[in-house]
C-alpha cells in the first residue's frame, strides 16, 4: 500500500475490474503510483479522517455499505474535509444522480464510457487535470 504522504488520488471503487482499468488509465500519465484505493464508502471515510488528505477523490456512486452520495454528504459536512475536490466517476447517466451530486457539492461528474479508449482518455485526462492543472485548496 502506498504511503499516505505520497497519496494524491483516493479512488473509491468496489469493482476490481474497474480499479484495474482506472489504474491503467492513470498510468498513462504516470499517476497510478499515487493512488489509494478504498473498496467501499466506509473505508473511504475512515481513510480520509485518519490519514492525510489527497488532492482529489474519485468516487463511484454504487458502493457497498456506504453509498457514494452518502460519502459525499459526509465529506461536505465535515469541517476538515469539506473543501476536498470530489469527482464522481460512475456508470450512471441518470439525471437524478447527476442533479443530486451537484446539489451535494461535487466538483465534477464523469460518466465512465463503456468503450475502453474513451474510458482511458476520460480518466487519464481527469487525473492530469485535478493533479497537475487544478489549483487545490491546500497549496
Amino acid at each position: 500500500m502506498t504511503r499516505p504522504a505520497e497519496v494524491e488520488i483516493l479512488l473509491v471503487e468496489d469493482s476490481p475490474e474497474d480499479v484495474a482499468l482506472t489504474l491503467r488509465a492513470l498510468s498513462r500519465h504516470n499517476l497510478a503510483n499515487r493512488v489509494h484505493v478504498a473498496r467501499d464508502g466506509a473505508e473511504a471515510l475512515t481513510y480520509l479522517r485518519d490519514m492525510a488528505q489527497p488532492k482529489v477523490m474519485l468516487l463511484d456512486l454504487k458502493l457497498p455499505k456506504v453509498g457514494g452520495l452518502d460519502v459525499l454528504t459526509q465529506v461536505r459536512a465535515d469541517p476538515r474535509l469539506r473543501m476536498l475536490p470530489v469527482v464522481v466517476l460512475t456508470s450512471s447517466r441518470e439525471e437524478p444522480d447527476i442533479a443530486r451530486a451537484y446539489e451535494l457539492g461535487v466538483n465534477s461528474y464523469i460518466v465512465k464510457p463503456v468503450d475502453f479508449e474513451q474510458f482511458v482518455t476520460a480518466v487519464s485526462e481527469a487525473g492530469l487535470y485535478w493533479l497537475l492543472i487544478n489549483q487545490g485548496p491546500h497549496s
Binding site: 475490474e17 474497474d18 456512486l61 456508470s91 450512471s92 444522480d97 464510457p113
Partner: protein, 635 residues
C-alpha cells in the same frame, strides 16, 4: 397519469364548491324570479283574491237589487201619485163643468141676449137682478160682468175689477170663437187673491153680441186636501196651477211653480220647487181647463225604504266580505304553513345536508305533499349515503391504484438504475480487458485471435449503445412534459448544422423549409428531429449526393411536419414494424443502429398527442411525417 387523476379530483371539488354556495342561498335566487304579484306570498294572495271576488259579487248584487227596489218603489209611488192626481183632476173637471153650465144658463136667466139687442130699463133690471143673484149664490163668485161684443163692460155686479189685461181679453175672444159653452180660463193673481174666470159668449143668430164673465176667487178647499191625505198620506202635497206654468197654488196660497220641463212630463217627474226639497210628482191635466193638478211626494219619503235597503245590503256585504277574507286568510295559512315547512326543510337539505323532516298531522293534499317530501328526503339521504360510500370506495381504489403505480414506478426506476450501472460495468470490463490483451500481449496473439478480440470490442460498444438507447427510451415514458412554443425552423436548422459538422466530408444537401411553430417540449422535439435526420443521413450514405428536406404541409389546416430523403427507402409491406423497439428493416452489416431510434420518435410524438408515419419505396427514398397538435390529449 397519477398526477392527472389527482388534479382532476381537485378541479371537481372546486367546481362543486360554488354550486353548493348557490344552493345555500335559494332565497336570493328566488328574489330574482318574477316581480310584483308573483312575488306575493300565497298567504297574502288568497285573501286578497277573496276580498276582490266577494266585493265584486256582493257589490254587483247589491247594486242590482237596489236598482230593482228603487224602480219598484218609484213605480208604486208613480202609480199612487197618478191615481190621486187623476181623482183630483176629475173632481175639478166635474166642478168646472157644473160651473160652465151655470154660466151658460145665466144667459137664459138674465135674458141678456134681449137686453143686449134692446137695452130697455125693464130688461136692464132683469139682467142686473140675475147677475146679482148669481154673485150671491156662490161664495167663491167675486163678480159677474156683462160685456158688449166689443168687450166693453156694460154691467157688473159684485167686486169691481180693474180693467183686465189684454191677453185675458184675447183669450176670451179665442174661446168664444171656438165654443158655445162657457170656457174656464187660467188663474190670475189679483192683489192677494188667485182668481179665475168662466166666460161665455152671448149669441144671436150665430153672431156674438156680447159676453157674460164670472170672476171667481180660489178659496182653500179643506175637504179636498183631506180627501187627498186620505188617498196618499199626509206627506203628499196637492198643487194646482196653469199648464203654462205661470201661476201655481197649494189651494191656499200662491207657491213657486214647478219647472216647465217637469210640467211637460207625462210620467213621474223629479224636481225641486224654489228652495224646497227634492220631490217626485205626477201632473194630471184637468179636462176642459188650462189647468194642471200636481201631486208631490218628498223624494226622501219615497226613496226611504230603498235607501234603508241599500244601507243594510252594503253593511251585510261588507260583513260577508270581511268574513270571507278572514276565512281565506285562515285557510291560506293552513295551506302555507306546511308549505313553508316543506320549503324550509328542502332548503335545509340543500344547504347543509341535514336530514330535515316535516311533522305530518293531516291527510289532505298538503299532508300528502309533506309525506311525499319526507319519503323524498329519506331517499335523498339514502342515495347520498350510498354516493358517499361509493365515493369513499372510489377514493380508496384511487389511493390504492396510485400507491401501486408509484410502487411500480419506483421499481422501474430502480430497475433502470441497475441496468444503467450494473450492465455497463461488466461491459466496460469486457471491453477494457480485451483491449489490454491486445495492448499487452498483441505480439503473442495470432491474427485469428486478434480478429476475435476485435469482434468482442465491436459488439461490446454496440451493446453499450443499446443500453444507452434503451434507457433513454424508458425514461421518455416517465418524465413529465414541459410544454412551450417551439420555433421549428430554428430548431431544425440547428440540428441540420450539428449533423453536418459531425461529418463534414459527406456530400449532403439539407434543406429546411420555413416551418410553423409547434407546442411541445423542446429537448424531446429536438430528439425527434435528430433521430429522423440521422436516419435520413444513414440511409442516403450510398447516394453520391444526399438530399434531405425538412418541411411542412397542411392536412385539413393542421401542420404535418416531414423529413424526406433520397435514400434507399424500404418496402412498405413492413411499414408497421418500423416504429417497434429493436425492429430493423435493414441488415446490421449494411446500416448500423440499435433499432430504438424510431421507437423513441414515436413515443415522443405520442406523448405530445401527435401521430407519426412513413411513406417510402425501395430505392425511392423515404418520408417521415409527424403532427404536433396544439392542445394535446395527453396519454
Amino acid at each position: 397519469m397519477n398526477g392527472a387523476t389527482v388534479s382532476e379530483t381537485a378541479r371537481a371539488e372546486q367546481a362543486s364548491a360554488p354550486e353548493r354556495a348557490t344552493a345555500a342561498s335559494p332565497a336570493s335566487r328566488r328574489a330574482s324570479i318574477g316581480s310584483g304579484w308573483s312575488r306575493l306570498s300565497i298567504a297574502t294572495k288568497l285573501p286578497l283574491i277573496l276580498a276582490i271576488l266577494l266585493s265584486v259579487v256582493f257589490g254587483g248584487m247589491t247594486a242590482a237589487v237596489y236598482q230593482q227596489v228603487k224602480a219598484s218603489v218609484l213605480a208604486v209611488a208613480s202609480e199612487r201619485l197618478a191615481r190621486a192626481g187623476q181623482q183630483m183632476a176629475d173632481l175639478l173637471a166635474t166642478s168646472m163643468r157644473q160651473r160652465t153650465t151655470l154660466v151658460n144658463g145665466l144667459i137664459e136667466r138674465s135674458n141678456a141676449a134681449a137686453y143686449l139687442q134692446t137695452p130697455s130699463p125693464e130688461l136692464q133690471d132683469q139682467v142686473v137682478r140675475a147677475l146679482a143673484r148669481q154673485v150671491g149664490a156662490a161664495s167663491q163668485s167675486a163678480a159677474v160682468e156683462l160685456w158688449t161684443a166689443d168687450r166693453r163692460v156694460l154691467h157688473a155686479s159684485g167686486f169691481q175689477f180693474p180693467p183686465m189685461a189684454e191677453n185675458h181679453s184675447l183669450a176670451i175672444a179665442v174661446a168664444a170663437s171656438q165654443s158655445k159653452t162657457a170656457v174656464v180660463l187660467p188663474y190670475r193673481r189679483v192683489a192677494n187673491d188667485l182668481m179665475y174666470s168662466v166666460a161665455t159668449a152671448v149669441r144671436r143668430d150665430e153672431r156674438v153680441i156680447g159676453y157674460l164673465v164670472e170672476r171667481r176667487k180660489l178659496t182653500s178647499a179643506a175637504p179636498t186636501v183631506a180627501l187627498l191625505t186620505g188617498l196618499i198620506g199626509s206627506d203628499a202635497k196637492l198643487l194646482l196651477g196653469n199648464a203654462a206654468g205661470d201661476v201655481w197654488t197649494d189651494l191656499s196660497v200662491s207657491v213657486p211653480a214647478p219647472p216647465l220641463s217637469a210640467l211637460a212630463t207625462t210620467g213621474l217627474a223629479q224636481y225641486r220647487r224654489g228652495d224646497g226639497p227634492a220631490v217626485l210628482a205626477r201632473f194630471v191635466p184637468v179636462a176642459d181647463t188650462p189647468w194642471l193638478v200636481a201631486v208631490e211626494f218628498p223624494r226622501d219619503t219615497v226613496m226611504g225604504p230603498a235607501q234603508r235597503f241599500l244601507i243594510v245590503a252594503l253593511g251585510l256585504s261588507a260583513l260577508l266580505t270581511a268574513g270571507g277574507v278572514l276565512t281565506g286568510w285562515r285557510l291560506s295559512r293552513r295551506i302555507t304553513i306546511p308549505l313553508r315547512q316543506v320549503t324550509e326543510a328542502a332548503e335545509a337539505i340543500a344547504a347543509d345536508r341535514s336530514a330535515a323532516r316535516i311533522e305530518v298531522r293531516r291527510a289532505d293534499e298538503v299532508g300528502r305533499l309533506a309525506q311525499s317530501f319526507n319519503s323524498m328526503a329519506a331517499q335523498v339521504e339514502d342515495s347520498r349515503r350510498r354516493l358517499e360510500g361509493l365515493v369513499e370506495e372510489l377514493e380508496g381504489r384511487v389511493t390504492h391504484r396510485t400507491a401501486a403505480l408509484e410502487a411500480a414506478n419506483r421499481e422501474l426506476e430502480a430497475f433502470s438504475y441497475s441496468v444503467s450501472h450494473d450492465l455497463r460495468a461488466p461491459l466496460r470490463a469486457v471491453d477494457g480487458f480485451a483491449r489490454i490483451l491486445v495492448e499487452d500481449h498483441g505480439r503473442e496473439l495470432t491474427p485469428e485471435a486478434r480478429k476475435c478480440l476485435d469482434v468482442i470490442t465491436d459488439r461490446t460498444r454496440h451493446m453499450g449503445n443499446l443500453i444507452d438507447d434503451l434507457l433513454r427510451f424508458s425514461r421518455l415514458g416517465r418524465q413529465p412534459l414541459t410544454r412551450g412554443s417551439i420555433d421549428m425552423t430554428a430548431l431544425a436548422t440547428t440540428v441540420a448544422e450539428d449533423l453536418r459538422r459531425a461529418d463534414p466530408e459527406r456530400a449532403v444537401d439539407i434543406t429546411v423549409d420555413p416551418l410553423p411553430p409547434a407546442q411541445g417540449e423542446r429537448s424531446l422535439i429536438k430528439q425527434v428531429l435528430v433521430n429522423l435526420m440521422q436516419n435520413a443521413l444513414k440511409f442516403t450514405r450510398s447516394r453520391p449526393q444526399a438530399h434531405i428536406v425538412v418541411g411542412c404541409r397542411h392536412d385539413a389546416g393542421d401542420p404535418v411536419y416531414f423529413v424526406r430523403d433520397n435514400g434507399v427507402g424500404f418496402d412498405m409491406t413492413y411499414a408497421d414494424k418500423l416504429f417497434g423497439v429493436f425492429q430493423r428493416l435493414h441488415r446490421a452489416e449494411d446500416f448500423e443502429g440499435t433499432g430504438v431510434g424510431l421507437a423513441i420518435v414515436q413515443r415522443i410524438i405520442n406523448r405530445h398527442g401527435g401521430r407519426v408515419w412513413a411513406e417510402a419505396a425501395i430505392d425511392q427514398g423515404a418520408t417521415f411525417f409527424f403532427t404536433l397538435p396544439e392542445k394535446a390529449e395527453q396519454s
